[in-house]
């Protein structure tokens, strides 16, 4: 199985050019990057300034990404539906009489979900208060909408890639890896609340990482067929978070909301990236040896290895991040949001001890089992992605 893995030699890749790359793939990539930057900037905004409006630059970037994807999808669906003889129609699916690429429908659906979440969220604020919790039904609908935009763009591109050959295919494969990296970035946003530094000696952090991370990594690997896809995707995530970690503090900011527990002079970045790149690299390294196993066997072995290595790496990394040696611009654990209370574990550089022994081990069990299940779903989904041509 997975015969595509390792078939693209580096020498061939070097000849890849942008020639013939559909503009839709470019636009989807730009939209995905725009939404990712907007999301991370927006979270930083809430940690540094606190108060926002519809028109903050971070919000505009997210809206730009959504709007751009919606326009692309509207255009392609319009073209495929009303131009019967077109190539676009030949490569389209049919939904309720409309025709268009599957990815376009998914992204359009994501755009509608985002639009729906807006009045819902506004009502939620009026009924229950301004963003009482990050995870609320309207926010989840918004997150699903953004996921629809991101994955719709990715599926639009993968269909192009699967129909392409030669250098064009390789170029689209690279774009797919980039989109995979940003899909992982987006998927990490809901986990932020559970994977902050103080939680990294708790099972809940690893349970949240077990649910879904391998799905994205494996789907990206299968869809692109690249030998080092998991490493590259995790690398894009790590590089992006590091860049945000280093760039955002260069901009001045002061809180506009109280209570203010921390004096803020600059934008507070999101924390150091989770060390996904290490187990991702290990999986890339060992995968050729797993080719003869069944899907379930691959899932159990690789899922367990991934989680074990992740814990083995992240645990001491978190210890280091809590130490005085890490308090520099590179690791930057000493950037606290304005609302971090002085006695909070974050500010005191300690780990939260909220789990009982039983909760810890049951959480770890969830982490390993969900990691295996996520990997299995990633394999199935990734193989389906490789077949998508419309």
């Amino acid at each position: 199985m997975n015969t595509a893995v390792g078939t693209l030699a580096p020498a061939t890749s070097r000849k890849a050019t942008a020639a013939g790359t559909p503009w839709t793939a470019w636009a989807c990539t730009v939209a995905s990057v725009s939404i990712a930057v907007g999301l991370y900037w927006d979270i930083s905004w809430h940690m540094s300034i606190g108060r926002d409006t519809f028109w903050t630059p971070a919000h505009l970037l997210i809206q730009f990404g959504g709007l751009m994807t919606a326009m692309i999808c509207g255009w392609t669906i319009f073209g495929a539906t009303f131009r019967p003889g077109s190539q676009l129609r030949q490569n389209s699916v049919s939904i309720f009489g409309f025709r268009g690429p599957l990815g376009a429908f998914i992204a359009a659906w994501g755009g509608l979900a985002m639009v729906t979440s807006a009045p819902f969220d506004d009502w939620w604020h009026n009924a229950y208060g301004l963003d009482v919790k990050i995870l609320s039904p309207p926010h989840v609908l918004l997150a699903i909408g953004i996921a629809g935009i991101v994955w719709g763009g990715l599926i639009l591109t993968v269909a192009e890639m699967n129909r392409a050959e030669g250098a064009r295919r390789i170029y689209l494969q690279r774009m797919m890896l980039l989109l995979g990296g940003f899909a992982l970035l987006h998927s990490m946003v809901p986990r932020l609340e559970y994977t902050s530094r103080t939680f990294l000696h708790s099972a809940s952090a690893y349970a949240s990482l077990g649910i879904g991370v391998l799905l994205v990594l494996e789907a990206g690997a299968r869809a692109t067929g690249h030998r080092w896809a998991r490493t590259i995707i995790a690398g894009i995530y790590s590089l992006f978070v590091l860049l945000m970690l280093w760039i955002l503090p260069l901009f001045p900011a002061t809180p506009k909301l109280g209570p203010v527990y921390q004096p803020i002079t600059h934008m507070v970045p999101l924390p150091f990236p989770i060390m996904l790149i290490v187990p991702a690299f290990l999986l890339d390294l060992m995968w050729p040896r797993l080719n003869h196993f069944s899907r379930w066997q691959q899932s159990i072995i690789a899922g367990a290895v991934f989680m074990a290595v992740l814990i083995a790496v992240e645990w001491p990394t978190a210890t280091f991040l809590n130490s005085p040696a890490a308090r520099n611009w590179f690791f930057a654990p000493n950037n606290f949001p304005y609302f971090a209370q002085p006695d909070s574990p974050n500010v005191r550089y300690i780990f939260r001890q909220t789990e009982t022994v039983a909760q810890f081990w049951s959480g770890m069990t969830v982490a390993f089992v969900s990691s295996m299940i996520s990997l299995w779903i990633g394999i199935v989904f990734g193989e389906w992605l490789r077949r998508v041509k419309r």
Binding site: N91, A159, V388
Partner: protein
């Protein structure tokens, strides 16, 4: 400052000839009134009115707290003089380290229609006791003023039918869309260019669509449960007016047992909010831990302002004076150590009591006939409510001005401070559902005001210059109806109570 009749007939506070009423304020009031009212410092009268000085600038502040916290409060500041150039507003927690580390203040916007008026928004992000810092700058230099603001959620949202219908339609389209996408993905996404799906592929599409329907319905059910759980949590955290229990013991001794129905926010780490309401943290306001108001209903002619002593945590007792039998409404004002004020409500049927003689700051009258403008006092003086015949409108802040005259109709002399200030007023609706205890400085608790200014809690030592014959109270009725205004002043060592009736349109 004067009370003036507006062209539309309403009473409006005027400072230096400038009207206090404003259409935006009316709009805000109207919006607030569209929510079920509750309150904390008062009962069903949530707005804060405050009269004070920021340096040399005389300001009248009106704050409409948000019905839901976190939320945005509206603040209106009227300047008595035209020399204020800029006003900045800043909400701060009343106590704790957050009270010291301030966010960037907001510049209030000067009204285009009235240059004496500034408007601003206050982002109130947690429930509890807040203070609003107001910084004024102008020709006379800079000055600062603090206004206490208790902030709680009082409202559980109900969705408007039109919005519900819109979301239902969008939700249906989303559900249909995701089912259609799943079907198309299974049916034809993998087909080569130009190929039509075969029968088996169509069947596979239908099967997947059926599975998608089940999964989406399951997601909707789970989402609905989540929503209901969040709504229940919100309802649990909404502020509930505490209802005390009153019992008559040993003749005229009234026992009061306070209630504490409001639970505190506990974050996901188990940390309880610093603003948790408890009953062992009460601080004196005007030298008393409790200000108890007893009003016989429905005639409201027997009115008492007493000061029970605390017997144990949450328990108070007071010796009642001689009073007539009847059904009495109880309003008990207390202030927590954070400056958060509460009014506990209750009621009791009392027999005729011979009672004890009034002492200290206790005062009242067993037979107070209400008057529209002139109230005869027990000592032979009279109190005149200075207002014209134009109707009073709900939601319009009004400066209530009262003048004490001696037997000969001359402005009374020898006026004294009553518990440190020129007078106390209680605004009570005739149905007993609205209650506000107001001072010349406004509707805030004096203990909270002192706390906001950074002074000691105990107001017993508060001394001001002897007041004149006039006493004024800034206040706005929250809604239309009939009200009674009880005004208490002190002259020649005796506390006098006057009663006025008011009809609010």
């Amino acid at each position: 400052m004067t009370l003036a009749a507006k062209s539309d007939g309403s009473h409006a506070l005027r400072i230096a000839g400038v009207s206090f009423a404003h259409p935006i304020k009316l709009l805000v009031f109207t919006l607030v009134l569209s929510f079920p009212l509750a309150s904390w410092a008062h009962v069903n009268s949530p707005d804060v009115y405050f009269d004070g000085y920021a340096g040399k600038y005389h300001l009248l502040v009106t704050i409409t707290p948000p019905p839901v916290v976190p939320g945005i409060a509206e603040i209106q500041i009227r300047c008595a003089t035209a020399d204020v150039q800029q006003i900045k507003v800043l909400p701060l927690k009343m106590v704790g380290v957050a009270a010291e580390l301030a966010p960037t203040p907001d510049v209030a916007e000067r009204s285009q229609s009235d240059p004496h008026v500034f408007h601003g928004k206050l982002w109130i992000m947690t429930r509890g006791s807040w203070k609003i810092q107001i910084q004024a700058e102008g020709a006379k230099g800079a000055g600062e003023l603090f206004v206490p603001l208790p902030a709680v959620s009082t409202y559980s949202g109900k969705m408007h039918a039109a919005l519900g219908a819109l979301l239902a339609v969008l939700g249906f389209v989303l559900v249909a869309g995701i089912v259609g996408i799943v079907g198309a993905a299974a049916r034809e996404a993998s087909l080569p260019s130009g190929h039509e799906p075969a029968a088996e592929e169509r069947r596979r599409g239908y099967r997947r669509e059926a599975i998608a329907v089940v999964l989406v319905l399951a997601a909707i059910v789970l989402g609905d449960r989540w929503w209901r759980a969040d709504a229940a949590t919100n309802a649990r955290l909404n502020y509930k007016v505490p209802h005390l229990t009153a019992e008559l013991r040993r003749g005229s001794l009234l026992d009061l047992r306070l209630a504490n129905p409001n639970v505190s926010e506990v974050d996901r780490y188990g940390v309880v909010s610093a603003d948790k309401l408890v009953l062992n943290d009460l601080v004196p306001d005007h030298g008393h831990l409790m200000h108890l108001f007893l009003v016989r209903m429905p005639d409201m002619q027997s009115f008492w302002h007493l000061h029970p002593r605390q017997t144990s945590e949450g328990n108070f007792a007071v010796d009642l004076p001689a009073l007539a039998a009847g059904h009495y409404q109880i309003f008990a004002d207390i202030v927590h150590h954070t400056g958060f004020p509460e009014t506990q409500v209750g009621e009791i049927d009392l027999p005729a009591l011979s009672g004890s003689a009034l002492s200290g700051d206790d005062a009242g009258d067993p037979d107070l006939a209400p008057s529209a403008t002139v109230s005869q006092l027990r000592n032979g003086d009279r109190m005149v409510w200075e207002h014209d015949s134009s109707p009073i409108k709900a939601n319009v802040p009004v400066w209530f001005r009262f003048r004490v005259e001696d037997k000969d109709g001359r402005p009374a002399t020898g006026m004294e401070n009553y518990m440190g200030i020129a007078g106390h007023a209680a605004f009570i609706s005739t149905d007993g559902k609205v209650f506000a205890h107001v001072h010349p400085a406004g509707s805030v608790s004096m203990a909270a005001e002192m706390m906001a200014e950074g002074a000691q809690h105990d107001m017993s030592a508060m001394q001001t210059a002897p007041p004149g014959p006039e006493v004024t109270f800034p206040y706005g009725f929250p809604h239309a109806g009939d009200y009674r205004i009880f005004v208490q002043i002190k002259r020649a060592g005796k506390i006098e109570t006057a009663s006025f009736s008011a009809h609010v349109n």
